[in-house]
């Protein structure tokens, strides 16, 4: 039986960063626990399947660990990490490190549930379910650039300045690119409704 791990949950992000820099690798686990959900969601939005997203998230945490000395005390860890996730994801896309896109209905590995199954909540009305799937499909059909910037804004809830930092572009570019991404999403939704036989 391994010895119990120290409980780091009572410490602030800053304190945890100091512990990790002092060699307490276990304290990094607490930082991972605090940020893993938004990190994975962002990676999954940008990448087209779970496996790529998993690679991106793991790689991002390793990068964050190596770069902890550059973390500015007093700042929130979440946006800093999401910036790394976004950069890592876009870099993976540029390098062609991608697997085939997963269908919304694809069964995943253990611990991963297909989206169609997850949102098919019995309490969800059929119309709402159809609409949710429609939006997800429209989003999945966007370009990588548009998916990334929308994910940073929608899932990461980052400010324009943080998005600019993550993408390495000026804030003005974030404004225009985000607007184009939103318009593209609306356009795809409109097209989808035109071809959908069930649309009223």
């Amino acid at each position: 039986m391994s010895p119990p791990r120290p409980d780091w949950s009572g410490h602030t992000d800053d304190e945890l960063v100091r512990f990790v820099r002092g060699g307490e690798t276990d304290a990094f686990a607490e930082l991972v626990r605090r940020t893993r959900r938004p990190a994975y969601r962002l990676a999954r939005r940008i990448m087209r399947n779970h496996e790529d997203a998993d690679d991106v998230v793991q790689e991002s945490y390793v990068k964050a660990y190596r770069a902890l000395d550059r973390f500015v005390p007093g700042k929130a860890m979440g946006p800093w990490l999401l910036t790394i996730v976004a950069r890592t994801a876009l870099s993976a896309i540029r390098k062609g490190k991608r697997r085939a896109a997963a269908s919304l209905d694809d069964p995943g590995p253990d611990g991963v549930v297909p989206l169609a199954e997850r949102i098919a909540d019995p309490s969800t009305d059929p119309e709402g379910l159809d609409r949710r799937l429609e939006v997800e499909r429209a989003f999945a059909g966007l370009s990588e650039e548009h998916r990334a910037i929308l994910a940073l804004r929608v899932d990461g809830d980052l400010t324009y300045a943080s998005i600019a930092e993550a993408l390495g572009v000026p804030v003005g570019t974030v404004m225009s690119r985000l607007a184009r991404a939103r318009e593209a999403l609306v356009e795809r939704m409109n097209e989808s409704r035109k071809v959908s036989p069930n649309e009223p």
């Binding site: 039986m1 391994s2 010895p3 120290p6 304190e15 100091r18 512990f19 990790v20 820099r21 002092g22 060699g23 307490e24 690798t25 990094f28 686990a29 991972v32 626990r33 893993r36 959900r37 994975y40 969601r41 999954r44 779970h50 997203a53 998993d54 998230v57 793991q58 945490y61 390793v62 660990y65 190596r66 770069a67 902890l68 000395d69 995943g108 253990d110 611990g111 991963v112 549930v113 989206l115 997850r118 949102i119 949710r132 939006v135 997800e136 989003f139 929308l150 804004r153 929608v154 899932d155 324009y160 404004m175 225009s176 985000l178 607007a179 184009r180 939103r182 318009e183 609306v186 939704m189």
Partner: protein, 385 residues
């Protein structure tokens, strides 16, 4: 009739919606949106779509997150470069070149030293085997019995043969073997040694000589009786923490490594066995609180108690108080080292704090104090950016 004012650009409209416009532009756009149904619908449409996206259920459940956490920890544990980097920064006042953190690197220093050591061993073995007859004519090595002060030391040396390369006698002793001298004597008169079995005999002789050398080495390495006792006393601790091999082994390795200990106080000799109140009597004698706490320990008392506490820790007598002993030792070392500890003191302080945190178990007060002090220490030695 004046035409309707032009709609704001999409960038501005959505930036207004996101609260990212400057104050003056916000006033202008807001005035337009308030009176423009088309723009309000655009905003509402986008907001609705983004709400749907935000409401997307997680693709993964807790099992995945657990695996992710374990995978990440496994990867970063292999790196474990932060402390070294920190130390270098502390030593050089931060004027250190950024480490290259790209591709994974092999520990070349370790690889080269291992390879060269292996090559040296091979060369020595080949030379010795080829010069077998010369060894027979050479003067006999000094026998251990002549130099050993008593039979007890001899017995200790014999039993420690199998563990000298381990962690100071903690490993199970090797079974007793015939003294090397006897084996040499048995080999000497063998007539077959001159014949076809010469190589075999030489090899056996070489082994016997090496064993005798090992025995002599052990006599000097393991010498202080208290260190042997210390390792034996710590052995149950090692067994208890066997699954955590790296930290357990490191802890054990600490005992012989620590050189700052003092001569054993007589009173302590009687109470050093695990389970006794050695720690309690030390803190009582020097007027220290059971657990170090800021402001409650005088520097003088701490420094006076240090050697006894260090001895207790070295001999494995701290038992359930190990974390508190470590915390005191960290504080004492820190006090001695001053505001700018050298790298050895830095290592020792960090190590004691870390062990205090790990050994604290359910002792939340000690764990919290050690964590807090470690954080402050790192803050102290890390140059501000």
């Amino acid at each position: 009739m004046s035409p309707d004012p032009p709609h704001p650009a999409a960038e501005e409209l959505f930036a207004y919606r996101d609260g990212e416009l400057t104050a003056d532009r916000r006033v202008v756009v807001e005035a337009h949106v308030t009176g423009c149904r088309v723009c309000r619908e655009r905003i509402d449409q986008v907001s609705g779509l983004e709400s749907e996206l935000r409401a997307r259920p997680d693709d993964v459940d807790e099992r995945y997150y657990q695996r992710l956490e374990e995978a990440v920890l496994k990867r970063v544990a292999g790196e474990d470069r932060a402390p070294r980097y920190e130390r270098r920064r502390a030593e050089t006042g931060g004027a250190v070149e950024e480490e290259k953190r790209g591709a994974p690197r092999l520990p070349w220093a370790g690889v080269l030293s291992t390879a060269s050591a292996a090559a040296a061993v091979i060369v020595v073995v080949v030379v010795l085997v080829r010069q077998g007859p010369v060894w027979r004519a050479a003067p006999r090595p000094v026998l251990l019995e002549k130099s050993a002060p008593d039979a007890g030391v001899r017995a200790r040396a014999d039993s420690a043969v199998g563990s000298t390369r381990g962690i100071g006698g903690v490993a199970a002793p090797a079974p007793a073997s015939p003294p090397a001298r006897e084996r040499l004597a048995q080999l000497e008169p063998q007539p077959s040694a001159e014949g076809k079995d010469q190589a075999k005999v030489d090899a056996l002789k070489l082994g016997a000589i090496k064993q005798e050398r090992d025995e002599q080495e052990i006599g000097s390495v393991v010498a202080p009786a208290e260190e042997v006792a210390a390792n034996r006393a710590v052995a149950p601790l090692a067994a208890k923490s066997a699954p955590a091999a790296p930290s357990g082994a490191k802890d054990l390795a600490d005992a012989p490594r620590a050189k700052a200990g003092s001569a054993p106080p007589a009173a302590l000799m009687a109470s050093q066995a695990p389970g006794t109140d050695g720690y309690g009597s030390i803190v009582a004698r020097f007027g220290l609180p059971p657990t170090w706490a800021e402001g409650s320990v005088s520097n003088e008392s701490l420094l006076r108690a240090e050697s006894d506490l260090r001895y207790l820790y070295r001999t494995g007598g701290a038992g359930a108080d190990s974390a508190r002993v470590r915390l005191y030792l960290a504080e004492a070392t820190r006090l001695r080292a001053g505001a700018a500890p050298d790298s050895a003191a830095y290592d020792e302080i960090i190590h004691h704090y870390r062990r205090a945190i790990r050994l604290a178990g359910g002792d939340a007060q000690t764990a919290r104090a050690a964590a807090q002090r470690l954080g402050e220490f790192l803050q102290q030695v890390t140059p501000s950016p």
